[in-house]
Structures are given as C-alpha cells and as structure tokens.
Symmetry: C2
Subunit: 106 residues, 2 copies
C-alpha cells in the first residue's frame, strides 16, 4: 500500500536490493524487521515491492530517527545476516523528501 | 537492476502507484516514457518494480532536470492518460539524496 505520510519535509530511505538464492530465515526476519521498524520513534510508514529487484522505501521524521533505527540491536543482526546470506547486492539511499503530490484514493 | 548513480548529492523521484484494471496502451506508453526519460538532460538512472503496488524511482542531477522532464509534451500526455485510465492512485515524492551506501556487485 502507498504510505500515508505527513506533509514534507520528512526523510525517505530507499533500499534497492537483489536477493541471493538463500531463502532460509529471510521471510521471518523481514516480517520481524517491519514490526520492529513500526515501533521506532520517528517511523512514518513504508512501501515494499519485489519482482526480481526489491525496492523497500521507509519514511522517517528525521535523520536522527534513521540513525537510531540503523543501530537497533536486532536490526544490526539482520543487516549482518543480510550481507552474509540473503542479499547479493543492495544500495541504500537516504533522502530528504522536499515535495510530494498525490492522486486518487487508497 | 539497481541504478548506477554518481556520489550524492543528487535527486530521486519516488513514484508509488496502484493501477486500475485498464491495461489498454499502458505497456507501450510505459516503455516509451522510459526511453524518453533516458534522453533527458540530467537523467541518472531508474529502478522499477511492480507486484500489485508499483514503485518506480528515477534519479536526476537537479530539481531543474526534474521540472523539465515533468513538462515534456509527450510526458504531459502520459500523465493525463495515467490519471484518466491507468492509475487508481499514486504518490510522487521529490527527494534530495544526501547519502548512499552499497553492498555487493550488480
């Protein structure tokens, strides 16, 4: 679903990734990380799609909230396992959302 | 594929969208818009995934290059047809990419 974010400015983290063929543990960890992210201060929402390439965009109030989320213990474990097992490659982009436009209802 | 972008700062346009059930003309127009975007001054790359929700992120050198692309005649037609036929809803977010990190090879 398209995230319901407040008026800009706010932050977006674009996580573009390519998986390995290792599936073990990935689905559960991905669900746990969504649940954990939703509890973090400054979390505003996220959108996630995969079709070969995966793109997950999470939205945050501030750079500080992104930095704090990056350092949460269980998230650090997930990041390490991601590099060791689940991701062939990824790129993470930290962005200031300056403007947004919407059309339609969702 | 993950876009090969230069070191930040640069801009990202996150286009999150939900399609209608109208398929007529959409595929051809989508391909044409990719080809046309790639020819625009300041275009840096794009990533696109759909699985129900669609997320397309395009990368640009500057706000000016994004503004110019938004106003290209054929793109204006595509935007209008998108609202009339192809999209139930979308959100477009214009973002300044401040930092990025990569892992692995692609």
């Amino acid at each position: 679903m398209i995230a319901k974010t407040p008026p800009p400015p706010y932050y977006a983290v674009i996580f573009s990734n390519i998986r390995t063929h290792v599936g073990e543990g990935y689905g559960i960890m991905a669900e746990e990380m969504v649940e954990l992210a939703e509890k973090q201060p400054g979390y505003l929402g996220h959108e996630s799609v995969r079709d070969g390439l995966g793109i997950t965009v999470s939205y945050w109030e501030s750079l500080e909230s992104i930095r704090n989320w990056k350092m949460v213990g269980e998230h650090l474990v997930a990041q390490r396992l991601g590099r060791e097992k689940w991701y062939q490659a990824y790129k993470t982009r930290v962005c200031l959302v300056e403007k947004d436009y919407a059309f339609g209802e969702w």
